[in-house]
Symmetry: C2
Amino acid sequence: MKTIGFIGLGIMGKPMARNLLKAGHKLVVYDIIPAPVKELVEAGAAEGASSADVAGRSEIVITMLPNSPHVKEAVLGPGGVLEGAKSGLILVDMSSIAPLASQQVEKACAAKGVKMLDAPVSGGEPKAIEGTLSIMVGGDKDVFDSVAEVLGAMGKSVVHTGLIGSGNTTKLANQIVVALNIIAMSEALVLASKAGVDPKVVYQAIRGGLAGSTVLDAKAPLVFQRKFNPGFRIELHLKDLLNAMDTAHETGTSLPFTGLATEVLSHMKSAGKGGLDHGGLVQYFEALAGIEVK
Amino acid sequence: MKTIGFIGLGIMGKPMARNLLKAGHKLVVYDIIPAPVKELVEAGAAEGASSADVAGRSEIVITMLPNSPHVKEAVLGPGGVLEGAKSGLILVDMSSIAPLASQQVEKACAAKGVKMLDAPVSGGEPKAIEGTLSIMVGGDKDVFDSVAEVLGAMGKSVVHTGLIGSGNTTKLANQIVVALNIIAMSEALVLASKAGVDPKVVYQAIRGGLAGSTVLDAKAPLVFQRKFNPGFRIELHLKDLLNAMDTAHETGTSLPFTGLATEVLSHMKSAGKGGLDHGGLVQYFEALAGIEVK
């Protein structure tokens, strides 16, 4: 069995690495924060001294980091993956980053004989723990096939989406739809409230028709219960929308609604609400409408 | 069995009236256009000479008209329902109009001893023909109960949503969600295309997760097939969004996304595309992004 390096043991990375151990893989782990490294070592992983050290001891390296700059630093920077990598190493970056960044990192990898896939996930911490993430994978199909089983230990849906960067493009498309569907629900429910109609009745009346959505069924009940603990935090969704807008600008795509949504999420973050679940975006529209709720 | 008057035999009204006849109701019908009146008379309905005449010969009058001014004209105008109505008549306005207009018409009705419900529908022509519309009904609960069986001949879901106007408010909430969900899908698919990823792959990768919606499953395949015949026409959806924005302004509700969506639909109408299915809104975003498609 191949040795897998795992770099980035945060809220998502730690349970994903655990699921690889459970599936019987040999793991070498690294994080700049010692506590989760210690946890994984107790669970059976070896400890790497740096990203370069992890890469030198592995056939496959997985990175799970916050955003594009962190991935560039961990792969291309001093003490990074490319410094230690043997030729033929496969790097699977499972971070949600800008597709252009994936393409740039892949180019640098290719120059050193390292094959790279971008493989961002959706589903959040609960599905990371269960090993039932959705994984969207861009890059060479042969390379994808060679790691599909490893990815299968972390996700229930592992889809090859196209060339390098396409995993992250697919993830951004997903995040655009989710953000705008939450906003659609918010404006509809706020208008109903202000017009004197019970939003719960509206929800029940419309959910079975063309207005129905997974967002509506997942988030409207939480709005009614005023439950805004994450879930998926507004500040993380903002990061994705900023990457979507960067990608839009680089590719000559004008996205007026996603652009406006980005400003809404940005306001929520600066107002100190970036830690709320993205269902909490309804508070922005309630405030605009002068609705007083707890 | 009570005699039902039916005013407005358009694309929706004609099949709805037919379903009342099929259910065994006595019908008196009226429209300013003679052809559909003739059809209904051949099917067994009596012909009214005017809205007032229809009202004088009925215990229940249903109106199914394009928008608020038409309803006001047919009910409050010369030769209108209130001119001919006996006290105790029940008026069920099934048009999709502004909730405030429903409330205004109801007040004038009440002054003449006429009880009124607003009962807009969703589902479009196919469900009007099948008798499987969703009907959202605002007004007095006792009055609702007394006509629920009659409405049941036209719809499979007949929901009491609250006070007069709440049927139309619920309908507007529905139309806000549908319009913005179509726009969400459009921006996501256009970004994917421009970033070099197959939108069909993106659709398959995201439809099972939080981005899933009835709109996505109903409209994305039509986008891929370039099928934009209605369905539900952009110009009708525009009418609903204009009523939503009027309602927003009257109730002190700011809806930036619905407002922007209204401008998109308005542009499509002035560009001669108001007759397309609302799934055709994707063309607005394709044009913004400079995508050439047939």
